[in-house]
Symmetry: C2
Subunit: 413 residues, 2 copies
């Protein structure tokens, strides 16, 4: 029996007891289109915090501020996020603006600025419209509540070129009782902003010490948000936050069955949100799971997965439903992973795992299965398994095809 259950019709952060949310329109984009563009999520009780930020060296002001908060904070109360403006490449003024945004959010939440994290996503190189955001935060402060509608509005407010809301909620069974994990994300779309910012916000009512929370988040992000790619670009603003408010009264720490259940559930939430992100990639038609096995090291497995996942030739062939395994071999070959054409084996597999067809086995091409390969890669979801034949390390990633629509969509901002 699974130790956790997904909730139907998730409302995002508010599905975790003790968290309230608001999503408002304050015209960050300056297009007066009425879109929700400012989210505020606040816990009644102080929370422990974990966070994973972009490794991009050109980090937006809110990311740099968030790193300071993570380093300094024992407890936080919540976060605010806007869409429509990334507050990136905005110089020293950008940091002043992020600090001001934090102040406005804290005023709306009735807490200290140091207890708030701020995130921004959208166009880079422009100052935040703080006058408008001041009004937006005042409104959010009035509207904030623990309700389905409020949770959904917050989840909508962080979207940019996403076509769908991304929320997920689970209930985890532990020996003292249930704890909750729920959250929202925005995806790897990038038309309105200049880049593919990925944001994830996860709330739990478990009681977890900061170092444990950070470790479990880092591990979950690695197997989820870090394992999806639409175009290989890592943005200036990528952020995943995890806030634990302890409202359940259930303390969890490594070394117990309850912790393992919590860890599995958190990873499931992160993977669900990450798959929603990749499935909503810009103008894609396919999501392909890449399983690398038999790698000499985990680093090799990652390199191999990433090379295939980001190859323009491979991604173009997926779009064309073409079982072009030669391009996969080529990408594996230049990935830097330890392998040769005489060690690698490849399979195509349908998304249900019902049919797995061999493609290439250590120098031997099995093209008697060509028609079967074609049937598998014609589907909108399928799997490629590559055994590098060099060891026992493995890694799994999800990627998308590359379409003419993507290029057209991104040729101008």
């Amino acid at each position: 029996m699974a130790a956790f259950q997904f909730k139907q019709d998730s409302a995002g952060c508010v599905d975790t007891p003790g968290f309230a949310a608001a999503g408002v329109h304050c015209d960050v984009r300056g297009t007066a289109d009425g879109r929700l563009d400012l989210a505020l999520v606040i816990s009644e009780e102080p929370c422990t915090l974990a966070a994973v930020f972009t490794r991009n060296r050109v980090a937006a002001a809110p990311v740099r501020l968030g790193r300071q908060t993570l380093a300094a904070a024992t407890f936080v109360r919540g976060f605010a996020a806007n869409s429509g403006n990334a507050n990136a490449c905005t110089g020293p003024e950008g940091m002043q603006d992020a600090l001001k945004m934090r102040e406005l959010a804290a005023r709306a939440a009735g807490c200290r600025p140091e207890e708030i994290l701020v995130c921004s996503t959208g166009r880079i190189g422009r100052r935040l419209p703080l006058d408008k955001m001041e009004k937006g935060f005042a409104l959010a402060g009035e509207q904030i509540e623990n309700s389905t509608e409020a949770g959904v509005r917050a989840a909508d407010a962080i979207l940019t070129s996403d076509t769908r809301r991304k929320v997920c909620s689970v209930r985890v069974e532990t020996s003292p009782g249930f704890v909750h994990i729920s959250g929202m994300a925005k995806g790897a779309g990038m038309i309105e902003p200049n880049m593919a910012t990925m944001l994830g916000f996860i709330c739990t009512d478990a009681k977890v010490e900061p170092p444990d929370l950070q470790a479990v988040l880092a591990e979950s992000v690695d197997a989820s948000f870090n394992a999806v790619t639409v175009d290989g670009d890592e943005s200036t603003n990528d952020t995943v936050l995890l806030l634990a408010n302890g409202t359940s009264g259930i303390p969890l720490a490594p070394g117990s069955g309850d912790w393992n259940a919590f860890k599995s559930a958190l990873q499931a939430v992160c993977q669900d949100l990450a798959k929603k992100i990749v499935g909503d990639g810009e103008k894609i038609t396919k999501v392909v799971e890449l399983r690398i096995e038999g790698a000499a090291t985990e680093s090799d497995a990652r390199k191999a997965a990433r090379a295939v996942a980001n190859s323009l030739l491979v991604k173009s062939s997926w779009y064309g439903c073409d079982p072009n395994w030669g391009r996969i071999m080529d990408a594996l070959g230049y990935s830097g992973a330890d392998l040769s054409e005489e060690t690698v084996s490849l399979w195509y597999e349908d998304s249900h795992g019902e049919q797995r067809l061999p493609v290439y086995a250590r120098g031997r091409i099995l093209d008697e299965h060509l028609d079967g390969w074609k049937a598998i890669v014609a589907a909108p979801r399928f799997r490629i398994i590559a055994d590098l034949g060099s060891g026992s390390a493995a890694y799994r990633m999800w990627s998308t095809d590359l379409t003419e629509g993507y290029v057209n969509f991104n040729k101008s901002e």
Copy 2:
């Protein structure tokens, strides 16, 4: 005064005295389209050899055989190359086929197999049609000669999805007299083959010892063939050969002005061929020169150039004539090079170097020049200069835009 001169209407390899060529049709593709698909280039005199091969770990059989030849040979007589079939991922039979191809070429040339290099480009995962190639080599042996027509036919026979022949010839002035460097290449197209194989064949009548020849070729390739990218994929078959037959009677070695002239000329030939390759990239509309300056190390400069050159978002924006500098900053940021948004400066420059407009200066956006940026990036050729502000190392690369046509062209083989 330049110590070397480009020849108008190059005929490729045959412009170097002592080299004869042939280009024939033997239906390697099996489509009976009459296309030239087999080239043979032979020197009257034995040649010293230098070669640079793909670093892809999935290396085609002819590449692996070529490495053996390079390691063992003191002198070679020439090379044979076919288009239409890459002889890659073909297992042990592939190596047998490469050896057989070498035998056929040697028979046509009247020399020993060990004195011949073979190269293949085209579809991977299929056996070479050696019966047809045997007839092709017999014909090539009859037709081989030092003539413009033969040189041009050889240059055409190595093309795959290239739309233009790629040849280059120079005459180098040294104190004892003239030496010649000439060659041919095929490019980064990939529709018919499964990948973007790049081949370069360069002949000279200078007399150069193997270690010096290898060193000067490696350096030239690094600043030319290795500095161009259409889609970032490094193929299983990439090969650049340099054969020096000494027919001029002029010995050249490092440490003299004549050597420096030779070295400059070789680099110019390699860059000319490399630019012809990138300019003929599949369905491209723009060639963009990237100059990275102020990097902490040369490795950093390369990483930064490569990240920008291969970013789908950056390349899509070039296609749209959009001066989307934020995407460049993003790519620089995730390149791994030492930099931050407060150290980087960016410029757009027209291809003649007549107008250089600042874009971003260490945190400050200079968008008063927006109209000027737009005019520059609307041209089919322009330059981006990025000063990382972290040191004094530099690197230069050439890349292309990413177009809907590329995706459509590559969605199936």
